[in-house]
């Protein structure tokens, strides 16, 4: 059968797989950020005088988690190119 058609389906499924990968990465990132946010809020409620420090630390940690989610996005970009 026509090779073109097979190639067509192949590229489509690669794109879909890449999208699924990006979605899974977003779920992971969401869980991570949620945990950090929750813990930071709890800590701030317990010790309001530490708020500044906790906020700074939480933002930095969120940036780390976000970076891991974005690694996955980069990988799915690469997969999309194939």
């Amino acid at each position: 059968m026509s090779l073109a058609l097979i190639q067509e389906t192949a590229t489509v499924s690669y794109g879909a797989l890449a999208a699924i990968g990006a979605g899974l990465a977003a779920i992971g990132g969401g869980i991570g950020v949620g945990k950090i946010g929750g813990a930071a809020m709890e800590a701030m409620a317990r010790q309001p005088e530490m708020q500044g420090k906790l906020q700074g630390a939480a933002i930095v940690l969120i940036a780390f988690i976000e970076a891991i989610a974005l690694f996955a996005v980069v990988v799915s970009f690469l997969a999309m190119d194939k």
């Binding site: 940036a63 974005l70 690694f71």
Partner: protein, 355 residues
């Protein structure tokens, strides 16, 4: 009074965006189907000319090292062609621009032939030292940083070190923050001074380039810190400096971890050794992915208007773009901070003495 003026300006800006949204969405109806991926990759990629607005773009010089010596010409000679159709002949060699990459045609070839993946088959790439959009914007940010810091230094010379004045008032807290929160806790009281110039350069260079990437009009707007070559170069400098400043303790802990059983030593050594290279790789990808993702999100939200092909989406899409842009202002500062922090952390690890 001041808030009122601010509100008026903000409303005007929104109106401007709305009107732009209306104007552009009308034009796209008769054209070929809108390709979001192509648009986004065009915007985040490097380019040999700087697009200003509409049909106006500024040509940039192309500098190539070929077997016939140095070849220079302006990118306007390609007449905006990126498909490899316009052939420029210089020094007896033929050049084409294929998707913003300059190829040199093999001798005897008249046109570019492509394989199934759109890569030229009868052309090679010469050494390309062109001033591209990203290089241009790097020079711009270097100039801005130079002017900022020489002005600040001059003001300190004039007024002494007791009170910052002018631009120094803005820069001094940031410099002190990097010294007191990044350098001293991670590198240590004794040795931090040697690393301060590098850490400060790193922070301000990344930060200012990130901010320039967020500003969506002419001399800025290029995706320099979202370019993996740029972030790789910075991470490589950090890596080299880490190795250069490493003490014997660093290597002992990496190759023959003290205080653990021998089979753990054998197990840990390759992991630690790989970690040495993974650290700068993670630095590279973290900055690259964060900044690129920011650009992609903004462009995707704007593309939503054209994908759905209705102007009623534009208010929502513009609101989201403004929202994301505000978050991005925070993200770019945090990314510059994290790059600097991790560099300082690695230097601190390398410098650690036996204890």
């Amino acid at each position: 009074m001041r808030t009122n003026t601010f509100r008026v300006v903000l409303t005007l800006v929104f109106l401007l965006f709305f009107s732009q949204g209306f104007a552009t969405s009308e034009g796209s109806e008769t054209e070929e189907p809108f390709n979001t991926t192509e648009l986004i990759f065009h915007h985040i990629g490097d380019s040999h000319s700087f697009h200003v607005a509409g049909d106006i773009s500024i040509p940039l010089p192309i500098i190539l090292f070929t077997e016939n010596g140095l070849v220079t010409f302006m990118s306007s000679e390609f007449h905006h062609d990126v498909e490899g159709k316009t052939i420029v002949t210089k020094n007896g060699l033929q050049f084409v621009n294929v998707h913003e990459k300059i190829y040199q045609l093999d001798s005897g070839a008249k046109t570019v032939a492509f394989d199934s993946e759109q890569h030229p088959t009868n052309a090679g790439r010469p050494l390309d030292f062109s001033i591209t959009k990203n290089v241009f914007s790097m020079f711009l940010s270097m100039l801005v940083i130079f002017l900022l810091f020489t002005t600040a230094a001059r003001s300190y010379k004039k007024s002494g070190t007791n009170m910052p004045r002018g631009i120094g008032k803005f820069l001094e807290p940031i410099i002190l923050f990097i010294r007191d929160e990044i350098a001293i806790p991670n590198i240590g009281e004794k040795k931090y001074k040697r690393y301060m110039p590098y850490l400060l350069t790193l922070f301000f260079f990344i930060w200012i380039n990130n901010i320039f990437g967020l500003i969506p009009f002419f001399p800025f707007s290029s995706n320099l810190s979202g370019n993996i070559a740029f972030t790789l170069a910075l991470a490589a400098i950090t890596f080299i400096l880490t190795l250069y400043s490493s003490k014997s303790t660093y290597w002992k802990h990496m190759l023959w971890m003290p205080g653990v059983p021998i089979y753990m030593k054998l197990f840990l050594a390759p992991i630690e050794f790989m970690g040495m290279f993974i650290k700068p790789a993670a630095l590279t990808i973290r900055l690259f992915a964060n900044i690129t993702a920011g650009h992609v999100i903004v462009l995707s939200l704007i593309s939503l208007i054209f994908v759905l092909n209705t102007l009623w989406v534009s208010p929502a899409s513009i609101l989201f773009v403004v929202f994301i842009s505000v978050i991005e202002v925070l993200v770019v500062a945090i990314q510059a901070y994290i790059f600097t922090l991790l560099s300082a952390l690695y230097f601190g690890q390398a410098l650690e003495e036996e204890h």
